[in-house]
């Protein structure tokens, strides 16, 4: 069965600092991979997705993620964090059976 692991429950960074959120997946074939962001009191919004091709994908709000097959990872990065990036971030894996599995999420706190 597929699974997604986000090793970091909570990350705190200073505004302007760089950010990397980790995600590891377990799935037999190449899955479709997603990062979603959830602001307080809101639903989830897609940041970016990977299906195939270039392993470095660009998303909204200045985020990018890199797919590394050898490490079964899909880490999310941002070079300079803004206070408005404080939110819950979820990595998800979707198989061709149509089911998305989510990681447990990483809470990002941004210090002024």
């Amino acid at each position: 069965a597929q699974s997604v692991t986000q090793p970091d429950i909570h990350i705190t960074v200073s505004e302007g600092a760089s950010l990397e959120l980790r995600c590891n997946y377990s799935y037999g074939a190449t899955p479709y991979l997603f990062w979603y962001v959830q602001s307080p009191g809101q639903g989830l919004q897609l940041l970016l997705k990977y299906f195939s091709g270039d392993t470095l994908v660009q998303g909204i709000k200045g985020f990018e993620a890199e797919f590394k097959r050898s490490q079964s990872s899909f880490n999310l990065r941002k070079p300079s964090v803004h206070w408005s990036d404080a939110a819950e971030y979820f990595c998800a894996c979707n198989t061709n059976a149509g089911k998305s599995t989510f990681g447990d999420g990483t809470t990002l706190t941004v210090k002024p």
């Binding site: 639903g43 979707n94 989510f102 999420g105």
Partner: protein
Amino acid sequence: DTAVSQTPKYLVTQMGNDKSIKCEQNLGHDTMYWYKQDSKKFLKIMFSYNNKELIINETVPNRFSPKSPDKAHLNLHINSLELGDSAVYFCASSQDRVQGGSGELFFGEGSRLTVL
């Protein structure tokens, strides 16, 4: 124009009551879902419907009954509410990979259910 809308946004009720949450999507997607997000923010899939047909039914008590009158609507009815049902329930839709889509989920804003 909201893509996935669910009502009500907040529900406060007593144990033992029955309640319903409604969801509608105007994206033309074939698949709709209910997810439960608990107090630790863990997201778990409950049900999935494809074109009105139930395709995913996770281990959910049978007090929870989804209904899809058409592919744009998916409602969730909960009988005999318990304290542990308190959570945020998210509706989502997607065009799945088997239908030529990406599997990207579009979420509603959530319905926060509090059982007293």
